[in-house]
């Protein structure tokens, strides 16, 4: 859908994790949080600090794999302990909305809180929700995407043959989105689209091509899409070389795209085109 979401703050965490003490002071809380929760909460705080905003009308998140480590931990404990004397902590933290809930708890935020769990369009679903909220008159939305690649997930995807052509990835990225422009925004999301699962590479590229306007860079989440757009004479890169493959890689890529806009004054627009294995492709349009 078409929109105008002004990015007042953004942050992402992937391979290089920060010292979480700077973000989550309570040592007990830090220890109880699984890695994906820590990555997500810390990146949301970084984005909020940059924007100097900590009051929101809504918090929306997306995750393709969910809180895997806690899910697995509880599942293993059921089997190993033969269902006896189980610790509920990992069960409690296994639901996908744990991240959005933890952030709300931390901020004491009583507003709208929603979590989308639809493969590689989870983050784009959350952005669609953000765009709707702004259309409905809301002003500030915290939006994020996150996934963790546990060793079990890595092993299972390996057995499925995933690493023959792709490299694994994980990460969290959060954005402070506003309905109105300010002097210090990182960029503006002009549209977010989730394409039909059946679209061919050429059809995806045709749609992406229509968004070219001025000096446009394509940041692609698929090597074939990047090369087709290159062949058609457009500047395009495959960001999965950096992020690796995971369902919400497009959230991390959107953070990188805002960094690119800041570094390179020539670029007027970045179109993010993502495609995750056997899943829908998505397009996010970002301008200055």
């Amino acid at each position: 859908m078409k929109t105008n979401l002004y990015i007042l703050g953004a942050a992402g965490i992937s391979q290089n994790e920060p010292d979480y003490k700077d973000f989550i002071q309570d040592a007990g809380l830090r220890r109880r949080m699984s890695r994906v929760i820590r990555m997500s909460v810390a990146s949301s705080i970084m984005a909020m600090r940059e924007a100097a905003v900590d009051k929101f009308d809504a918090i929306v998140t997306g995750t393709g794999w969910g809180c895997l480590a806690d899910t697995e931990k509880f599942l293993v404990s059921i089997i190993q302990n033969n269902e006896r004397l189980l610790n509920p902590s990992s069960f409690i933290q296994s639901t996908s909305n744990t991240v959005g809930a933890q952030i709300a708890l931390m901020l004491g935020d009583n507003h709208y809180n929603n979590t989308f769990v639809h493969g590689s369009s989870s983050f784009e679903s959350a952005l669609t929700d953000a765009a709707l909220l702004v259309l409905e008159g809301k002003h500030l939305v915290l939006a994020g995407g996150f996934d963790e690649l546990t060793s079990t997930k890595r092993h299972l995807l390996g057995r499925m043959g995933m690493w023959r052509e792709h490299k694994g990835g994980e990460g969290a990225a959060f954005f402070v989105l506003a309905s109105e422009p300010t002097s210090k925004q990182r960029g503006v999301i002009k549209s977010v689209e989730i394409l039909s699962l059946n679209e061919t590479y050429n059809e995806i590229c045709n749609k992406a091509e229509k968004l070219v306007n001025g000096n446009t860079l394509f940041m692609c989440g698929d090597v074939s899409i990047a090369s087709i757009l290159n062949e058609r004479g457009f500047k395009s890169e495959n960001y999965k070389e950096i992020t690796g493959e995971f369902p919400t890689a497009s959230a991390l890529a959107l953070f990188f795209a805002t960094e690119r806009l800041a570094e390179d004054n020539e670029i007027e627009k970045i179109v993010l085109v993502n495609k995750f294995i056997k899943d829908s492709s998505t397009v996010i349009e970002l301008v200055r």
């Binding site: 393709g64 269902e83 409690i92 809930a101 709300a104 935020d109 989308f116 639809h118 369009s121 929700d129």
Partner: protein, 395 residues
């Protein structure tokens, strides 16, 4: 933004049976579907709201091809979503129809079987059992099976998921992004949730007693419930009601426990009532979340009092019929709420004996006719303080 949203079709599968008419029948006769759990082996002695069909029976009923792995969540979801779509008899050709589904366990029932083989030897376990694990997998399968073409997504905010899916669907129609949407949720019983709620110590080993002072916990259930929502321009066989109000709010108190002042529930109900432009006393029936746990029911009762004062409308929890269907609860109970509004009924709250301190008004305990009812409300609250309320108006 002015588009009105109407409910043009209902679909439901639960412990009360397969299809909406079975739900209505059981609600009228007061026949609970909760039985001792038989679906899988567990050391816990639990009562559960099982759908009385095996996966294979469901597959055959749905006409799905043999030899593929279908999670129970997918099978239950397809049955209910297809019913909602078919009942409406809308002409699909020129419409953009979306699917927004909620689930909290996804294909966990099948993943559990895989994991038992995988854990002792990581070369074992059939990979195709994992195809349905991710929450989005059941949604995508149903979307394709029904030949839909609009927005498709999945929501997981635990036990409030389906109300949030219905709310998202209504908002997308209002914004003109789609003409119609099947919205609701599906969840199946599995060891993961039985053990999860057992480890929290909030399962009642006997029949759950929502809003009773002697309540001991919840019974789990399974099922699926969907509404077919349409914009004003879509022609359908019937229009049950209008989606008049909705709100989602966060309790921001604790990851699982509800606050003693019911802040999240209060804000969700208040927001939905304000949006509907109703005076509080115009709400004719509330299908409360009412899980039967000490904490939920106390918190919800306080919130009801804060919204409605001394005039809390007639209300009941229908979890004594179906058990708590988790991510599907909002879908199943929205169907029940609309059946109440449509038929002029207030459903009984089963297993109730004694009033609890937090609640001056007892729930409705026998079936009551309420032909004058103009508006009805339903609550769903989930882990992470996620509270969501919907209001439906007669048209």
């Amino acid at each position: 933004m002015a588009n009105e949203v109407f409910v043009a079709g209902l679909g439901c599968v639960s412990a009360l049976g397969f299809g909406v008419s079975k739900q209505r029948e059981a609600l009228i006769t007061g026949a609970s579907g909760i039985v001792p759990l038989t679906l899988f082996e567990t050391i816990h002695e639990v009562m559960a709201g099982e759908v009385a069909f095996s996966n294979e029976e469901l597959r055959v009923r749905l006409g799905l091809s043999e030899g593929k792995e279908y999670s129970r969540t997918t099978l239950l979801g397809l049955a209910a979503a297809r019913e909602a779509l078919e009942e409406s008899a809308i002409e699909m050709d020129d419409l953009k129809i979306g699917f927004i589904s909620a689930t909290s366990v996804g294909g966990m029932d099948v993943s559990e079987i895989f994991y038992r083989e995988y854990l002792p030897d990581n070369r074992k376990g059939r990979l195709r059992k994992l195809i349905g694990h991710d929450c989005g997998a059941s949604t995508q399968f149903i979307y394709e099976n029904l030949n839909l073409n609009g927005f498709c997504s999945t929501i997981n905010t635990a036990c409030s998921s389906a109300n949030n899916a219905i709310m998202m669907g209504a908002r997308m129609i209002k914004a003109g992004l789609i003409d119609a949407v099947i919205a609701g949720g599906t969840d199946s019983l599995c060891r993961f949730t039985v053990n999860g709620f057992s480890s929290l110590g909030i399962l009642d080993g006997e029949l759950c007693k929502p809003f009773d002072s002697g309540r001991k916990g919840l019974n789990l259930g399974e099922g699926a419930g969907y509404l077919l929502l349409v914009s004003d321009k879509v022609k359908s066989k019937k229009r049950y009601c209008r989606v008049a109000g909705y709100a989602n709010a966060n309790d921001a108190f604790h990851q699982t426990a509800s606050s003693s002042n019911g802040e999240g529930a209060f804000l969700a109900m208040k927001g939905a009532v304000e949006m509907s432009n109703h005076l509080p006393d115009e709400i004719g029936y509330i299908n409360v979340h009412g899980t039967g746990t000490q904490n939920n029911d106390a918190s919800e009762a306080v919130a009801l009092k804060r919204v409605f004062g001394e005039n809390v409308p007639p209300f009941s929890s229908t979890k004594g019929f179906t058990g708590h269907t988790l991510g599907a609860a909002g879908g199943v109970e929205s169907v029940f709420t609309i059946l109440a509004l449509d038929g002029g009924y207030i459903w009984p709250n089963l297993n109730f004996k004694d009033k609890m301190d937090e609640c001056d008004r007892p729930p409705q305990i026998t079936l009551k006719r309420a032909p004058q009812m103009r508006a009805a409300m339903t609550n769903s609250f989930g882990f992470g303080g996620n509270c969501s309320t919907l209001i439906f108006d007669k048209v």
